[in-house]
């Protein structure tokens, strides 16, 4: 096997080592380069053009300035890359702008960098897709009217591919990225050779543009700012150091250097050839600058089409990078409690989907709102990039001064220059692009920062209450239970509720119904249980709540009061949930009632054979308490489970982040909870399936053997905060609705 083959095999098959939290396999430089630099290299497909659009405002003559402006941009790119090499060395596990800023500058700069990054990823998708479509349109001009539709189509395509769960496959990136690099260099070499003799003219050469404005210093600055799009994507390597082969920092730094050299040569070369072939590009032209250059240099031959295909491919991949990174940064933020915990684990299919869906919606919105106009989208793009550059470089300076590692003087100088220059460019970008759209990003950042801060505060409050010893649940043993059965029909589920309730042997048991006509039937079904017809006035929910308040007042303060809600389902079709929407709402509303637990007994018609008397007590009641952490809400749920007279009480943790399981076990042991805890993996992060698997071992049939799943739930005072909690509970409840013989109890833990 040749060396290359061996490398390819290792890449394809993956080196059998864990890179910790990173999802990538450890990559050799040859593959890491395409994986991480597709974003940065692809920006060469449009950077020159963006600068030319600005220059063209001052007329055809001003276009000659593209070469010196490109030199300035290239110098900036070199500075940023040199200073990022310092970051890579300092943060061998990956030093994204958020992390570097938060660690060295404080929480708010960290959050600003994070907000800038999140916005940036949405823009990366929008910009790359639009530019990719432009490359396609340059080769197939008849499709021009479908620009927006095409861009949206590609967003959906990449989103679906990611939802399906593609990993960053090195090869997938390698082909188009190396293809793009090769085609561009083929273009540059052919171009230099041809131009040394006689430069071919681009199709737009000689077009005269009347100056719309004078060639002011401001315009030059603006053109420079537009050209700095060539810098986008540089941070990707710094983010992904952990994915490199050992020695990681060294390999990452080398890859950065290679990428820098490639990017600078490509950018300068394209700019030079655009100048030499006399491309005149005005906003809205059918063919991109690169396409025009290539068309002239390759005389429209097949090489032109190859380049266009490679450009489109690398741009689509650049968008894919954002799809990989957005969930990653979201999960880091969620881990630090700055984003809803649904983003926390990136492997969880559902969670992963959340990030992908949000990102695609944001990108699709941007594409539609800006009509897939690359030039207008790019106005928004650069602010976030330069905020994260400036913050992370400044953070590096402070870090070096504080920690004084070996060679810190050099870092201070390099990152100091980098931070200052990118800071200045940030100002230039903000000033020159403010009215063009940058204001939207600048106003969105504080909104996001505020949101993240509020989420953080909320989770902090919740944690405090969950751990507070004063809020410990009191010790309640079997018997301290009171049941109220809600009767809305007299079908199987209601009959089973009777049997189940008798089995629990509560202190008190009663029934309520909104429907007077059910009273006689009930008396035959459950002769021993008193039934009350709910007082008139208001919705069923209101009437139930009023009644429960009365019961609550009449029982001991520390007793549990459980509403038993039987629910008959006609089939296992999800549509049943919609058909029973009233009952779902009722359950949700009762959950918010203090001092009330909701016990749901769903029965699918046909699951119970004819002739079985469901009002008989089940012989065995297995109780399963779902545990996500050791805190007051869990303790309360365990106590609750004990009041149901279970034959066995299982505490089970399913599908929590694997890295948290060891700590969970330790807290369980420290807390001396007198029950065994089972920690189960949810393969492929499908909690519903894992739970169904787990429950199947009990062989519940609904009359002889019943499984009661006890779910601790948080109830927050502000309804809008509920989105930050209880999503898992919702999923679990949805999955359990159709499982035979399973009873589900929500034990709410009310937070202040």
């Amino acid at each position: 096997m040749s060396k290359l083959q061996a490398a390819l095999k290792r890449v394809l098959v993956g080196r059998p080592m864990s890179s910790g939290e990173m999802e990538h396999t450890l990559l050799p430089k040859t593959i890491a380069l395409p994986v991480f630099s597709s974003d940065a290299l692809s920006s060469n497909a449009y950077a020159t053009q963006e600068a030319m659009i600005v220059l063209a405002l001052a007329g055809t003559g001003a276009l000659q300035h593209i070469v010196p402006i490109s030199l300035a941009v290239a110098a900036l790119l070199a500075i940023v890359i040199i200073s990022y090499r310092e970051t890579v060395r300092a943060y061998p596990t990956g030093g994204g702008a958020y992390r570097v800023s938060k660690e060295n500058l404080g929480m708010y700069p960290g959050l600003i960098a994070a907000a800038a990054l999140l916005i940036d990823y949405a823009l990366t998708v929008a910009v790359s897709m639009t530019a990719g479509v432009d490359a396609i349109l340059s080769a197939a001009t008849s499709l021009v009217p479908y620009r927006v539709e095409l861009a949206l189509f590609f967003v959906i395509l990449v989103a679906v591919a990611n939802l399906r769960g593609t990993k960053e496959s090195g090869i997938l990136f390698a082909i188009p990225t190396y293809g793009f690099i090769l085609s561009v260099f083929a273009l540059l070499i052919t171009g230099f050779v041809r131009c040394a003799v006689d430069c071919p003219a681009a199709e737009s050469a000689g077009t005269i543009i009347k100056p719309a404005s004078a060639l002011t210093f401001f315009l030059i600055l603006k053109a420079f700012a537009a050209g700095t799009t060539a810098l986008t994507g540089v941070e990707a390597i710094a983010d992904g150091v952990g994915a490199f082969r050992y020695p990681q920092s060294k390999n990452a730094a080398q890859t950065l250097a290679i990428m820098g050299i490639l990017s600078i040569s490509m950018f300068l070369g394209i700019s030079y050839l655009a100048h030499a072939t006399g491309v005149v590009y005005v906003h809205g032209a059918e063919r991109t600058v690169v396409a025009q250059v290539a068309h002239a240099i390759f005389s429209g031959g097949p090489a032109f089409y190859v380049l266009q295909i490679m450009s489109a491919a690398i741009l689509l991949l650049a968008a894919n990078t954002a799809f990989q990174d957005f969930p990653r940064i979201s999960s880091i933020l969620a881990g630090d409690h700055f984003m809803p915990r649904q983003f926390l684990s990136r492997g969880d299919r559902l969670v992963f989907s959340n990030g992908i869906i949000i990102l695609s919606v944001a990108a699709a919105f941007l594409i539609t709102a800006f009509n897939a106009d690359l030039n207008r989208l790019i106005q928004l793009y650069l602010v976030g990039v330069f905020i994260s550059f400036t913050f992370s470089q400044t953070g590096m300076v402070l870090r070096s001064r504080r920690l004084k590692p070996k060679g810190w003087h050099r870092t201070v100088v390099v990152s100091g220059i980098g931070g200052t220059v990118t800071g200045i460019v940030l100002l230039v970008v903000v000033i020159t692009k403010f009215t063009g759209g940058a204001w939207m990003v600048i106003s969105a950042i504080p909104v996001l920062v505020y949101l993240m801060r509020s989420i953080h505060k909320h989770y902090g409050d919740v944690q405090h209450q969950l751990d507070h010893p004063d809020r410990r649940p009191v010790d309640r043993r079997a018997g301290h239970q009171n049941l109220v059965i809600l009767v809305t029909d007299l079908e199987e589920a209601t009959a089973q509720a009777v049997g189940y309730s008798h089995h629990v042997q509560p202190r008190s048991i009663s029934a309520i119904t909104p429907d007077r006509s059910l009273v006689d039937g009930w008396r035959t079904l459950a002769p021993g249980i008193e039934i009350t017809v709910l007082g008139a006035g208001g919705s069923v929910t209101k009437r139930v709540r009023r009644h429960l308040k009365g019961v609550r007042d009449s029982i001991a303060e520390n007793d549990f009061l459980t509403v038993v809600v039987p629910e008959i389902l006609r089939s296992r079709n999800t549509i049943e949930i919609l058909r029973n929407l009233g009952k779902q709402r009722l359950k949700a509303a009762l959950l918010r009632e203090r001092g009330v637990q909701v016990l749901n007994i769903p029965v699918v018609k046909g699951d119970i054979a004819e002739g079985i008397d469901l009002t008989q007590e089940p012989a065995r009641n297995f109780t399963v308490v779902l545990v996500s952490g050791v805190h007051n809400a869990t303790l309360q749920a365990i106590e609750y489970a004990g009041t149901l007279r279970p034959i066995q009480l299982h505490a089970v943790s399913l599908g929590i982040e694997e890295s948290d399981t060891s700590a969970l076990g330790d807290s369980w042991l420290e807390e001396h909870i007198p029950h065994p805890l089972e920690i189960e993996a949810a393969p492929f992060r499908d909690i519903g399936a894992a739970l169904r698997d787990y429950l199947s071992s009990f062989e519940a049939d609904g009359h002889e053997r019943v499984v009661t799943v006890v779910i601790p739930e948080f109830v927050v005072p502000k309804k809008r905060h509920q989105i930050l909690h209880g999503q898992t509970a919702l999923i679990v409840k949805r999955h359990l609705l159709f499982v035979r013989g399973v009873v589900v109890v929500s034990v709410p833990y009310h937070l202040d």
């Binding site: 394809l12 098959v13 993956g14 059998p16 080592m17 864990s18 890179s19 910790g20 999802e23 396999t25 591919a161 399906r164 769960g165 593609t166 990993k167 496959s169 090869i171 997938l172 082909i175 694997e658 890295s659 948290d660 399981t661 060891s662 700590a663 076990g665 330790d666 369980w668 042991l669 001396h672 909870i673 007198p674 029950h675 065994p676 805890l677 089972e678 920690i679 189960e680 993996a681 393969p683 492929f684």
Partner: protein
């Protein structure tokens, strides 16, 4: 073509299949371990697997921690008696153990073996 095939497989392959492959590949990097499918009771083995579930029993007199490991070929329970701390044992981690294999309720069990944790496979 092989590349294209692999690319398409990436979209179509069942996750269980990929998982078993990942496990097998990971196991092949560890030295001197016997596949779980080949262990027989009452003999000494060095085996390894990813921790797939854990059972902690803190009740007096029964205090123990159990970890079920899988290696793609089979499963085994590793049991530590009288232990009151996880010492880093967690889901998804690789566990290399050496000791006498026993049997309980049809499952292979190793009680209080020599053990150490290793990084688990990538996408296990």
């Amino acid at each position: 073509m092989a590349l294209l095939k692999r690319f398409i497989e990436g979209f179509t392959k069942a996750p269980e299949e990929t998982r078993a492959e990942n496990l097998a590949r990971w196991i092949s990097t560890l030295e001197g371990v016997t596949p779980l499918s080949q262990v027989a009771p009452r003999q000494r083995y060095r085996v390894a697997g990813v921790i797939q579930n854990i059972r902690i029993d803190p009740r007096e007199g029964r205090d123990s921690i159990e970890a079920t490991i899988i290696d793609g070929s089979g499963r085994m329970i590793v049991k530590w008696l009288g232990r009151s701390s996880m010492l880093g044992v967690g889901l998804g981690k690789g566990l290399v153990v050496e000791g006498i294999v026993g049997e309980s309720e049809g499952m292979r069990v190793m009680i209080n073996p020599e053990w150490n944790l290793v990084p688990g496979p990538e996408h296990g």
